[in-house]
Amino acid sequence: MTPHTRRFFLRSSGLSLVAFGLAPRALLRAAEQGGARRGKTLVVVFQRGACDGLNTVVPYGEEAYRRLRPTIAVPAPRGGSKEAALDLDGHFGLHPALEPLLPLWRERSLAVVHAVGSPDGTRSHFDAQDFMESGTPGRKSTEDGWMNRHLQEHAAPAATPFRAVALTPTLPRALAGRAPAVAMASIGQFELRGGPATAQARGFEQMYDQAVRDVLHGTGQETFEALAFLKKADPARYRPAHGAAYPRGRYGDALRQVAQLIKADVGVELAFTETGGWDHHAAEGGVQGQLAARLRELGQALAAFHRDLGPRMADVVVVTLTEFGRTVRENGNRGTDHGHASVSFALGGDVAGGKVLGRWPGLSAGALYEGRDLALTTDFRELVGEVLARHLGARDLGRVFPGFPLAAGRFPGVMRA
């Protein structure tokens, strides 16, 4: 049996549902009796295309930064000017387009981990994203994603179909695997025409229910359970609260809907969102430009999410990831090419914010990875591993990140002790 068919067989045999505590009928009863528990949530924000960490959290204190980026460097802070970096700690500054995040930094809900990423040296988007989602850099044969393995290894007896949810049209690699996970382009679209009680809904349910040995069977079952559950919870009735204003566009919409699901108590433990357009080989821009526009949207979306959830942020941690960083030196087209380490944000009530974490390797010639890129000092698995362990209470990180022994001493310290 090939790996895939084995996986699909497991998915479709019904074993998976039992193994992960998703006993369908009991679940529906739980929903009827007033929803699921209010638990902790990790929201992953994947920036696809390799975000330029050096222009996101700017090491303005480094002479080499300005020298190697003559046209795209963000100037050092100038008394709160919006045409320059916004000072964080005397060495690093936020890109001015990320201004909405500055209050969160000041109230210590936002932490930065710099020089973070995947240790594999590939500069292929495809491979690097794959490694970051499988959680096994350098190993392509891994079938499932690290987020799914977390679900597998930490069975939750009261789990709902929305324990793991991606606000994406198709299931991301990070959530692929034996444990059920739901992907949806939007909450509104996650509905069968005519509603769940119609004859055709029953018809489809029966057809897929009986299609044993078919990869579609498991997916079908998950789909119909999730439909019924979501209908009951009705997350769409939650509107942005506390005056939160999400930016218009796909990314703001996605985060707003994650907030709705969290507020509706549908039992979201892992949420996945993605944002594209970070691959700026040409005309990246400095204070203004293409990267600035992407950062503005991201910053506004994260700030709105934080505001929207209000006190509920005590239960939530948001982590941003990107497959790799970009060359320290700008290329000939006012852009940057594929590099190595980049930057991550962690946002949440229990985040040890207001700090730039991780060891900063510097930008001197000798410190660069392969003589051209920001070197990596924090493995992304140390970052998300800490959140899994200290926020979600994961016990077995060894199975989530096989072959990567993770002791607490290696955590970057994003969570409050």
């Binding site: 895939h4 699909f8 696809r48 295309g49 003559p70 046209t71 040296g121 590939t122 500069r123 292929s124 988007h125 495809f126 491979d127 994406t168 049209p169 198709t170 299931l171 692929a176 739901v182 992907a183 949806m184 382009a185 679209q189 996650f190 509905e191 069968l192 025409r193 005519g194 004859a199 055709q200 018809g203 489809f204 029966q206 057809m207 897929y208 229910d209 009986q210 299609a211 044993v212 040995r213 078919d214 990869v215 579609l216 997916t219 079908g220 998950e222 439909l227 594209g276 357009g277 080989h281 040409a282 005309a283 290329n331 000939g332 087209n333 006012r334 852009g335 090419d337 594929h338 392969e370």
Partner: protein
């Protein structure tokens, strides 16, 4: 014979329908026993976008082998009905120059927009802004033949029309395969205006020829040069003037003086992707050093005349990085444009490329994890025929592995395959493709809208998800109920006898549970049957 209703329908279905296919509880008796029709359905599912009413009869009449051979030589197949449909689209036959001229927002309008914005300042009211927008739009309309959006919509419409109504079905599958392999993204800069020519004169022209010719044509196409940034790549040590002005003008910003001492330089984007995605494959045995060297060899491969709206490939010696290059351990003597040519030849004839292309083709036609022996044989044909695509495809689609029972119904349809096959099976009339194109976008497969250079995935796991399945069920219901604007299904689908509908929409046969469900629903409300069939597990496979 009277039409069976109620309980008799159940009986009729149970008796008349073909035995369950591979997707049901039992392994398919398909190819081995039934031979003829099961094989014909399989062939139509793989070398075409699924069977249309009448296709099975045609295959029976012509014979499967002869039909395949005919599809392998599409130039001999008449396609008048499709040509008539395509003729209604204004833009797909135009050149890039014509499209840029007639459909790109003119520079003077962009400039005016900027001036207006500046004049309005920050204090303008919403009404004032709206007014300014209206004026600008009117101005643009007077100067343009149509909007940029129309260009993309017509590309998408043409693709759907070809998939649904074209007689050269295998040609269509191959065009889709290569467009996806050599992906470009309509949303990047002027690519939407370069795409019609790219598809017509690069992809389709070379889809059946030598791989090396196809590779070279893509390497020299303005669409690829722009999409993967090679048009900007230049000798980092060179003293030629900067191209930043060109970038700015494209994005509508006023040119600013280049900072002193600024030089343009190398851009590795294309060099990496040509090896990783177009030829060798990610494990094909190249290093970062090779990427840089290939990028240096391709410096000067650029686009001339983009600003003048007459884009064409040009080798610009002033941008080229001199000196020898070492690529994959071989020395390439300093020689201007010839260096890039040598790299293309080296990559096209590399054994990793033969293997990678053969693997991808076998995955498309046979199974998500194609049999290694088949890939080996196809790769050998690739090497022995100097990369003749027709011979490689023939080796795959006439192989015993292609006809093996475990290959039948083994692939899950991509959203495009699902949509096209649904329209074909039902004999739908596609009058306006816009709504359907939008639905494809919502299913994660917007046509010409895949941003990363990897193209769309061709394996089940990429497309089997809760939301993906839900989108299919909803589209099935919407199609059958006539709720997709621009798509009309024949009225017989709402009234036809269930067993006739089943045989027509899913000729590969239904599993037992689907048959039972259908019988029950048909008894209650016959109009539901078509929607259920299009949404059935069996219909999601090919």
């Amino acid at each position: 014979m009277t039409r069976p209703t109620g309980a008799s329908a159940l009986l009729a279905i149970a008796c008349l329908l073909p035995p369950p296919g591979a997707s049901s509880a039992l392994p398919s008796p398909g190819v081995q026993t039934a031979g003829g029709d099961a094989l014909a359905v399989h062939v139509l599912n793989r070398l075409a976008y699924g069977p249309r009413p009448g296709d099975l009869e045609e295959l029976r009449r012509v014979g499967v082998d002869r039909w395949i051979e005919r599809q392998l030589r599409p130039e001999g197949i008449e396609d008048r009905a499709l040509e008539t449909r395509l003729a209604a689209l204004r833009t797909v036959g135009l050149s890039s120059a014509e499209l840029l001229e007639g459909y790109e927002v003119p520079r003077e309008v962009k400039r005016e927009a900027q001036e207006k914005r500046a004049a309005l300042g920050d204090d303008a009211t919403e009404a004032q802004r709206e007014q300014a927008k209206r004026e600008l739009r009117a101005r643009a309309r007077a100067l343009m033949d149509g909007s940029p959006r129309e260009v993309v919509e017509e590309l998408q419409a043409a693709k759907l029309l070809r998939a649904v109504y074209g007689e050269r079905q295998l040609d269509e599958v191959m065009a889709d395969f290569w467009l996806n392999h050599f992906n470009v993204y309509a949303g990047k800069g002027p690519v939407k205006f370069l795409l019609a020519e790219y598809e017509r004169d690069v992809i389709r022209r070379h889809a059946w020829g030598r791989f090396e010719d196809l590779l070279r044509a893509t390497a020299q196409s303005p669409a690829m040069l722009f999409y993967l940034d090679n048009w900007l790549s230049a000798d980092p040590e060179g003293g030629a003037p900067t191209v930043a002005g060109r970038v700015r003008s494209l994005f509508g910003r006023p040119p600013a003086p280049a900072p002193a001492g600024r030089r343009r330089g190398l851009n590795e984007n294309y060099a990496r992707e040509i090896m990783e995605l177009h030829t060798l494959g990610v494990d094909g045995g190249y290093t970062q050093k090779d990427v840089t060297e290939v990028a240096r060899a391709f410096t000067g491969w650029t686009i001339a005349g983009l600003r003048q709206q007459k884009p064409a490939f040009r080798f610009e010696p002033r941008l080229h990085a001199g000196g020898d290059k070492v690529v994959l351990g071989q020395r390439i003597r300093s020689g201007g444009k010839g260096e890039g040519e040598q790299v293309l030849h080296m990559l096209a004839t590399h054994p990793s490329t033969a293997r990678f292309i053969s693997y991808k083709l076998a995955r498309r036609f046979v199974a998500d994890e194609p049999p290694a022996a088949l890939v080996d044989r196809a790769a050998r044909v690739f090497r022995e025929t100097d990369g003749r695509i027709r011979d490689v495809v023939r080796a795959i689609v006439t192989s015993p592995e292609f006809r093996a029972p475990d290959a039948v119904q083994a692939k899950v349809k991509t959203p495009l395959e699902f949509v096209a096959s649904a329209l074909r099976a039902s004999g739908a009339e596609l009058q306006d493709a816009r709504a359907l194109s939008r639905r494809l976008g919502e299913m994660g497969m917007g046509l010409y809208m895949q941003q990363p250079p990897t193209g769309y995935k061709d394996t089940a796991e990429a497309w089997v998800s809760t939301s993906g399945l839900l989108a299919r069920l909803n589209l099935a219901l919407d199609l059958a109920a006539g709720r997709v604007p621009g798509v009309r299904l024949p009225s017989t689908l709402a009234t036809g006898a269930p067993e006739t509908l089943a045989a027509r929409l899913v000729p590969g046969g239904l599993g037992q549970s689907t048959r039972q469900t259908l019988a029950r629903e048909a008894a209650a409300e016959p109009a539901r049957v078509a929607g259920l069939l299009l949404g059935s597990p069996e219909f999601q496979r090919r």
